[in-house]
Subunit: 197 residues, 2 copies
DNA sequence: TGGATTAACATGCAGCCTGTATCTTTTCTG
DNA sequence: CAGAAAAGATACAGGCTGCATGTTAATCCA
């Protein structure tokens, strides 16, 4: 039996990055970005700080990588639940439910909605959302509204504001607010937004 | 001329706290909470770290004090612009405009909407908002909607979600989005929410 | 196949920051 | 006016980040 199993470099990198991301994710969720130290992270991952700084530029870059994984996971769950096959309006409602379900995974609100914007800045954080979950919403709105909006109103502006309502809905549910009330309010917001002229 | 002008203790405390809050506010806005050090703050305020830790428990407590001042200023501007004398619906629209105007003061979005929730936590940060600007919104909504909502929907849930839309509207405008489009979308959200049954 | 090269990882260090403990100075109180 | 208390300054311990330097393992190439 070999003392150190020979592995390809790709395997080594994948294993290390994976352990690092998993450990960082758990700690960022548990204690927040600011109160999580890199010594803690590497200890939980079973490596050293040298490896961390070999794979990531700094602590922020590691955090960003964790967030990208998380945002992609949320977007995947939404697209799986809200295929564009149904009517635009029903797809919006289904996507809404799927988003709130996805965000109920422990820690996601903290990662994506609290620490993310503060650590990465509003621009980068919103861009991340826009590239994933937000895109589905904007497309759904555009399909449901059609050309029935006139300047200065835009689909993008409506999508931006509704997206914020989604986010706070997830936060409120996470904070213990009545999920039924929040979800009902969310549905009302969407239906009223897309109905009529 | 006396070397040290004799001052009452109250004056000393007020002057020091004021200088501290002003210096901290400017730096928190300019560089963010995490990248602002207490040595920087006290240097800008013309005092020492000893005085800071005499007046505040820690850096977070100083930040919280800055945010309380800021939240109160925003709430004052809103109540000045949206007296409850008009119709509930017009008061809501006026309050909406006043909020976005108030939040356009440089740095407020960063303080109240980005660093605040991350540093103080979602609970404390939302409570701060709820105690000031958010209260006006909830009361306005209740007046405009009257008893026309049925379970599981609640006025509080609607206020929570609309409040989030307001916040992101301020952020979007701050980030360079077209203010006319954002404001139009905001007005539409409110009017659609309060109209009809 | 085996030595050079590069990637992966580990260790050690410099500078900075936070919070506290201690000390000095100014104001208040009886 | 003397003692107490508040305001403010100084000093220190522990910890953290990022980098520079060293070591080991995989890859490349002749």
């Amino acid at each position: 039996m070999q003392r150190t199993m020979p592995r390809t470099n790709r395997e080594r990198t994948e294993a290390t990055r994976g352990a690092l991301l998993a450990a960082a994710r758990a700690l960022f969720i548990d204690k927040g970005y600011a109160d999580t130290s890199t010594p803690e992270i590497v200890a939980a991952a079973g490596i050293t700080r040298g490896a961390l700084y070999h794979h990531f530029d700094d602590k922020r870059a590691l955090f960003r990588a964790v967030l990208e994984e998380e945002a992609r996971a949320v977007a995947d769950e939404i697209e799986r639940a809200a295929p564009a096959t149904r009517s635009p309006r029903k797809a919006l409602i289904a996507g809404s439910e799927a988003y709130l379900d996805a965000m109920s995974v422990a820690g996601r609100t903290r990662l994506l909605l609290l620490d993310g914007p503060a650590v990465l800045g509003a621009g980068e954080s919103l861009a991340l959302d826009q590239a994933h979950a937000g895109r589905t919403l904007r497309e759904g709105l555009a399909a449901a509204l059609g050309p029935r909006i006139a300047p200065p109103l835009t689909v993008d502006a409506l999508a931006t504001l509704l997206s914020a309502a989604f986010d706070r809905a997830a936060l409120a549910i996470d904070a213990g607010d009545d999920p039924a009330a929040i979800r009902a309010a969310m549905v009302r917001l969407i239906e009223r937004t897309v109905s009529g002229g």
